[in-house]
């Protein structure tokens, strides 16, 4: 239904998005995952026709969005990363105004606003001035404003930042329901793995403006199925030993952690005993050992050598 074809965007000669490819099928729920500055918001702005890409094209049902933005503007609902509301107006007034943008009649809107407020759990205080809301409540209004016109495609840019865990869970549930029950197509941006794992069918992982990997959650985890992670803590730092481990031929990658080392090794390689031989030789005192199976977080680390969040 929606295709992003080889889109690049540069600001003042700096590439922010490079050769981006992405597609959305009707009724799908897609996650766009990446660390700060990866280019997620920029990608969303391009898709929603807010900014023009330097090259490439975005197509909705086969026709270019860049040339004719009118088509996509009718069918998408955008939840911007930063809260975009009139603080001096009430939630109701905000929603009324944003609904009017979509040419909805006042009568139809009144009912719709009630429905949307119920959906995001904001029925009681909708007549209060937004300025008096807590951060989480503002977030909910921010989400509600994108739902008024029953968008076919819902694009959300980190919509749950600053919301407490229960509310977040509630909102994720709501999005999942919109996706499954109403068949709303969802593009969800986040740097929370858990959210994407819970909500999305397919995931795109972005870093430095590029998609570095994509596929279903299972496909992505399979990248790491052949690996396991060993965390070893020591009483102090042993540079010579660290060096030896980092250059060990059977260890795929070794990185320093707060108290020791994190080793990524081939699954079932029974490396642990050999690692202990080395620590023995260096007379290093091991304080803790932990062997773990991979998460999407590790997938990201595997792909980029960096953590998703610092």
């Amino acid at each position: 239904m929606l295709e992003v074809e080889n889109v690049s965007k540069s600001f003042k000669g700096r590439n922010v998005v490079e050769g981006m490819n992405l597609y959305l099928e009707k009724g799908e729920s897609i996650g766009l995952l990446g660390p700060n500055g990866a280019g997620k918001s920029t990608t969303i702005s391009i898709i929603s026709s807010l900014i023009k890409p330097s090259s490439g094209d975005v197509k909705l049902n086969g026709s270019s969005v860049i040339k004719k933005p009118a088509a996509i503007r009718k069918v998408i609902g955008i939840v911007p990363q930063d809260i975009a509301l009139y603080e001096e107006l009430s939630a109701y007034e905000n929603l009324l105004f944003f609904g009017q943008m979509y040419g909805m009649s006042k009568a139809g809107l009144a009912a719709k606003i009630q429905e949307v407020c119920r959906l995001v759990g904001l029925e009681d205080r909708q007549k209060d001035i937004v300025k008096t809301y807590s951060g989480g409540m503002k977030r909910r209004v921010n989400i509600a404003a994108a739902l008024l016109h029953d968008p076919e495609i819902l694009i959300m840019d980190e919509p749950t930042v600053g919301i407490d865990p229960q509310s977040r869970s509630y909102i994720l549930e709501m999005i999942r329901n919109l996706n499954i029950e109403r068949g709303m197509t969802v593009l969800y941006t986040s740097h929370y793995m858990e959210e994407v794992e819970r909500l999305c069918d397919r995931v795109y992982i972005m870093d430095h403006g590029k998609v570095i990997s994509s596929g279903t959650k299972e496909e992505l985890k399979n990248i790491l199925s052949a690996e396991e992670t060993i965390y070893i803590d020591f009483d102090r730092v042993y540079p010579a030993m660290y060096d030896e481990l980092q250059h060990h031929q059977d260890i795929l990658r070794a990185s320093e952690t707060e108290n020791g080392l994190k080793l990524i090794v081939p699954k079932g390689s029974r490396l642990l005993s050999r690692v202990f031989q080395i620590t023995e030789r260096h007379k290093a005192q091991v304080t803790n050992v932990n062997v773990s199976v991979p998460s999407l977080e590790d997938v990201f680390l595997h792909l980029t050598g960096r953590k998703l969040r610092d």
Binding site: L50, A70, I76, P80, A84, Q100
Partner: protein, 370 residues
């Protein structure tokens, strides 16, 4: 577009203080500057007179009658002691000493008043002297009446015109100058600060919400600009109407003409605002730039003092680059010279041209930025 337009009014109702402040400031400044000058302008000047050497009380009273023919001065006969005392305690700056066929002036300060009274008294005494001389020489008794009669059908009629065909000299009415200048000056603040809504909305993201909606971009601009335009017009018109109809200022411009002038001026100012928005990046920058631009434009354009007293040709050239110059000129021409819309074609078309130019450049800059 309608929704955007009406939303701005709703937002203004929630935060009316800034606009109200500019409105009240206009009232205060016009009132203060205007009426302050009106005192010495419209009213009569009170002058003490006393009988000096060789003059009789009755004779002096005769002179006083002659002197009081003028609307501008009111002479009162007091004794010398009183006159000196009034000057001493500062309630009068001068007094006139009437002699037999002559006068002297008792002056505390060499000011404008002193010159006015002196030249007026001089004129009255000289005229009287000439008439007396003529009476003596010709011996006719009814000379005065005949001169008076002749004056109704003067043999020579002198009209003064300048090369450009306008009346020479300029008619300076301080209250109207204050009314026009201050009203336009503060309206520029109202308009430009209201326009900074656009920058605000861009910052807070509501602008992007509008852009990604099915609304056309021009509708978003039009809604915002229409609001600022109507707000500016309302402010100016309300103040003009108030001073003319409630306080009885002699503005003397038909309401329709006022509306057209105001519309052209407001359009130009909205456009200058758009240009500023196109040039700056942040709300803070805008808030710093607006007062500088507005105040310097108002100074150059003659909102604070009439440009007729400016002689620096560079400054005069600069003044032609400000919309407020044309606004004041149009109002002045309409008020003092009774010009209608066609007569005001010059300044009005320049205002529109100015507006179109700034608007074009401003929107272009802004769009290129995003």
């Amino acid at each position: 577009m309608k929704a955007i337009f009406f939303l701005q009014w709703k937002r203004l109702r929630r935060k009316p203080y800034l606009v109200l402040t500019f409105f009240v400031l206009t009232l205060l400044f016009v009132f203060f500057l205007g009426s302050n000058n009106q005192g010495s302008q419209g009213g009569q000047m009170e002058v003490n007179a006393y009988t000096g050497e060789g003059a009789q009380e009755a004779e002096a009273a005769g002179w006083i009658d002659r002197l009081n023919d003028s609307d501008s001065f009111h002479f009162e006969l007091v004794d010398e002691e009183q006159a000196r005392k009034d000057i001493m305690d500062g309630s009068r700056s001068l007094a006139l000493e009437i002699r037999e066929n002559d006068y002297r002036m008792l002056v505390a300060v060499e000011d404008q008043d002193h010159q006015l009274v002196d030249s007026y008294a001089n004129q009255v005494f000289r005229e009287e002297q000439r008439l007396q001389q003529a009476e003596e020489q010709t011996g006719t008794a009814d000379l005065r009446e005949r001169v008076q009669e002749e004056m109704n059908h003067p043999p020579l009629d002198l009209t003064i015109t300048s090369v450009s065909g306008e009346e020479s000299g300029f008619v300076y009415n301080a209250s109207l100058q204050a009314l026009f200048g201050m009203t336009l000056f503060f309206s520029m603040y109202t308009i430009m600060f209201s326009l900074s809504n656009v920058v605000d909305e861009k910052r807070q993201g509501t602008w992007d919400r509008m852009i990604v909606s099915p609304l056309r971009k021009w509708e978003v601009y039009a809604g915002q600009l229409a609001y600022c335009f109507v707000l500016g017009m309302l402010q100016i018109m309300m103040i003009f109407v108030f001073f003319e109809w409630v306080l009885g200022y002699d503005v003397n411009i038909p309401l329709g003409t006022t509306a057209v002038i105001t519309a052209c001026f407001t359009f130009a100012v909205v456009s200058v605002g758009m240009l500023l928005i196109g040039l700056v990046r942040t709300t803070q920058q805008l808030q710093a730039v607006i007062p500088i631009v507005v105040t310097s434009m108002a100074m150059l354009g003659g909102a604070f003092w009439p440009l007729e007293i400016v002689s620096n040709s560079f400054v005069l050239a600069l003044s032609k680059g400000t919309p407020i110059y044309y606004g004041i000129q149009a109002l002045h021409d309409a008020s003092a010279l009774g010009y209608g819309i066609t007569g005001l074609g010059g300044p009005l078309s320049l205002l529109i041209l100015f507006g179109v130019l700034c608007m074009g450049i401003g929107i272009n800059l802004m769009e290129r930025r995003s």
